[in-house]
Amino acid sequence: MSSSLLNDVRVCDFTGQLAGAGATRHLAAFGAQVIRIEDPLRQGKWDILRGSPPFKDERRGIEFGSGFQNHNVGKLGVTVDLRTDRGRELVTELVRVSDVVTENFASGVMERMGFGYEELQKMKEDIIYVSNCGFGQTGPYAKFKSWGPIAQAVGGLTFTSGLTDMPPAGWGYSYMDHHGGYFMAIGILAALTHRNTSGEGQWVDMSCSEAGASLIGPAVLDYTVNGRPSRRDGFPASNRDSSSTMAPHGIYATQGDDNWIAISVRDDAEWASFAAEIGEGWATAERLSTVAGRLGLEDVLDAEVDRWTRRYDRHELADRLQRCGIPTAVVARPSERIDADTATEAWGLWPTIEHAAMGEVRVDGLPVHFSETDWEICKAAPTLGEDNDYVFGEILGLTQSEIGSLRADKVI
């Protein structure tokens, strides 16, 4: 079973890593037929996640990288050696029957392989070609290489994550690979929408660092409008509220080792309930009763709140403050939000699938539900060339002996 949401869409997919593979994975969950093309000679290792940790058990190799497995669920996998004429012909045939071609190689790679936009258009006039790389296909940095941490550094997200008088904390993972994939998915879907109304395909040039730069808007405007740079004393203090409407607003220590709680007090009424929970003289001081007063004394306030929260168990405290209507959450560990969170469990957020080599594995689900045509994740990521017979046989109509000879000649 697969979702019928996008089951009329076929994607000829050269993407890999998370920034690219993370886009087409969602389309596959929506029922699109995503055919992922890999290089048989290099055993698909262009995608470094194919054989990268973490691993489920002691087994190693290109079928055991759990990142690859997570980011490629629901896709069909074929191998084609694009150095050969027959390989290029096969991909040309695939493009002719596809709606979308996607890739996240370094800029210029597709063109060198003979699959630049102009060539693709000759293969199929209304093709949608979506390229995605760290810096886009044009501009002075077009040839620069990138990973998530680089895109988020150059795009301004690393700088804006940190505490006062400290180096940037940044993001402890490739946040912009996720968002690179999300924005790429938006580009694909927007281009499909445009094609359906205009009959025209197009080339969409996605840049992950640019996507990052679009995610820090108000701080950019504070500079372009007010001339206030972010390189200034006391900034960033990103656990605090950037809109200057909430205080206290921070992450505070609780009982135990490396246990933390996040608390946001949105207005004076919430502060009054919070102060009552604290029940100490300092909390009911008149000067703290208004948000302006609290913002002006934020350092002192944070220190007092932290002194108070340290006495408590974070889960009990979160429940207690939530009962007062105050936005509160423990800083959840992976084990807690995955295996001990009633919300993610009820959502079905961590589906289990059967992978041909790894066996049973759990993966990320989707954070949306559709009332009529919900997403499905029921097929694991393809092992290398797993769907060659189906794709070349059923979709391109090759005979078993033709496929056999492609295999013998190492074209696939």
Binding site: H26, K145, G156, L157, Y182, S214, G217, T224, P327, F370
Partner: protein, 406 residues
């Protein structure tokens, strides 16, 4: 013509919907943002134009409401509810972030709205989804990112220091991006089948699945990552990657060198900079030439490869410490070694690359007689260019024009 030209969307202004509505509007959809009498709460969020508070001066509002039109409706009032119903019947797409149960109580939820528009696409963005065991919990961007996973992975090597929430409303924006993906998919499905539907977006779920390693390390290997300064949280400590450069700015030095060409370029550059004599690990650096491509697993498992890789990392950090962050960024990258300058927002918007690509755009505020530079739309669609079509609207600026239409 934008890609979404012809699509009409009614957005109920909220923290959760603002970014989604903006993206859709900047890509050409006609997004009508519905504000309560007095204006959206976002108009009270700083920073403000010239630091003077006022409903038309919030830069937060300006940024998140570009290309939209505004109408004021009182949804607590029957007339307002009727007006909302007729707007929705005409537009056919709703985007809202109201607390679960609110629209139902007002008689203007999906079930009632689809009576006037059978193929309605209605997207709700809520903290935990519209139903479920935690759907009544209160949430802000901070608590969303804390409870949903990202914060656990971000912060400093010293775990006495609190973990960090990245700035910029990333939790709301992540939920917003998922709303856009889902709405476009639903609109495409409707174009083909005439079937509409309700879309339930959970902010908590959205940030949960935007945590990369942290999630699948637990899902697959039952290991928990630990936060580290300026680099990936990991189950076991890894070497620093964030370099302090000669100008006091920082450089993210990523994961190189792992290829022969990268080791060679580093050796040569050390020589050019006259740093080769003070670099004790030259021999190991030269050995980097013998590995075709060093994988992450090999670094952990083969001690020799670990040593060679470590020498490469030392060379990268030494060079970075002797140059400005920008010089180092350009210097490494032109040598094929992927690193990134840690730009502040003001660096980003004036960076020559982003400028050359037309990312920074001037938006006219004719009401103020001024123009300001805005970050543009990061999806460069060559056949249906996206752009901010107008400044954010004043409170109810288009009420007459829109209510006159319907």
């Amino acid at each position: 013509m934008g890609a979404l030209d012809g699509i009409k969307i009614i957005e109920l202004s909220s923290d959760g919907t603002a970014f989604a509505g903006k993206l859709l509007a900047d890509m050409g959809a006609d997004v009508i943002v519905v504000e309560p009498p007095g204006g959206s709460a976002q108009r009270r969020y700083g920073p403000f134009l010239d630091d003077v508070v006022g409903p038309e001066r919030s830069l937060h509002w300006w940024h998140y409401n570009t290309s939209k039109r505004s109408v004021v409706l009182d949804l607590n009032d029957e007339i307002g509810q009727d007006q909302f119903r007729s707007l929705v019947a005409e537009a056919g797409v709703v985007l809202e972030g109201e607390a679960p149960g609110r629209l139902e109580a007002l008689g203007i939820d999906y079930e009632e709205l689809r009576a006037g528009r059978p193929d309605l696409v209605h997207c709700s963005i809520t903290p935990f989804g519209r139903t479920g065991p935690r759907c009544d919990e209160q949430m802000t961007d901070l608590t969303m990112l804390a409870g949903g996973g990202p914060v656990w992975s971000c912060g400093y090597d010293d775990h006495e220091i609190p973990p960090v929430r990245g700035g910029g409303n990333q939790g709301y924006q992540t939920g917003g991006v998922w709303a856009v993906i889902s709405m476009l998919a639903a609109v495409l499905h409707r174009q083909r089948t005439d079937v509409g539907q309700h879309i339930d977006v959970s902010n908590h779920a959205a940030v949960n699945v935007t945590t990369e390693f942290a999630s699948y390390s637990w899902l697959v290997a039952a290991t928990e990552v630990q936060r580290q300064t300026g680099r990936h949280a990991a189950a076991r400590p890894t070497q620093p990657t964030q370099a302090l450069c000669a100008d006091g700015r920082y450089l993210n030095t990523g994961v190189p060198p792992r290829r022969p060409a990268e080791f060679k370029a580093l050796s040569e550059w050390l020589g050019e900079l006259g740093l080769d004599r003070e670099f004790p690990l030259r021999l190991l650096l030269e050995m980097g030439g013998q590995y075709e491509h060093i994988g992450m697993a090999e670094i952990e498992e083969d001690p020799m490869i670990g040593e060679v890789f470590g020498a490469g990392r030392e060379a990268v950090m030494l060079i970075a410490s002797r140059l400005s962050a920008y010089e180092a960024f350009i210097g490494f990258q032109t040598r094929g070694i992927p690193v990134g300058a840690i730009n502040a927002p003001e660096d980003v918007i004036s960076d020559p690359h982003f400028m050359a690509r037309g990312f920074a755009i001037e938006i006219e505020h004719e009401d103020l007689g001024r123009s300001f530079t805005y970050p543009g739309v990061p999806i460069k669609m060559n056949g249906s260019p996206s752009s901010i079509s107008r400044r954010a609207p004043h409170v109810g600026e288009h009420t007459d024009e829109i209510m006159g239409d319907s």
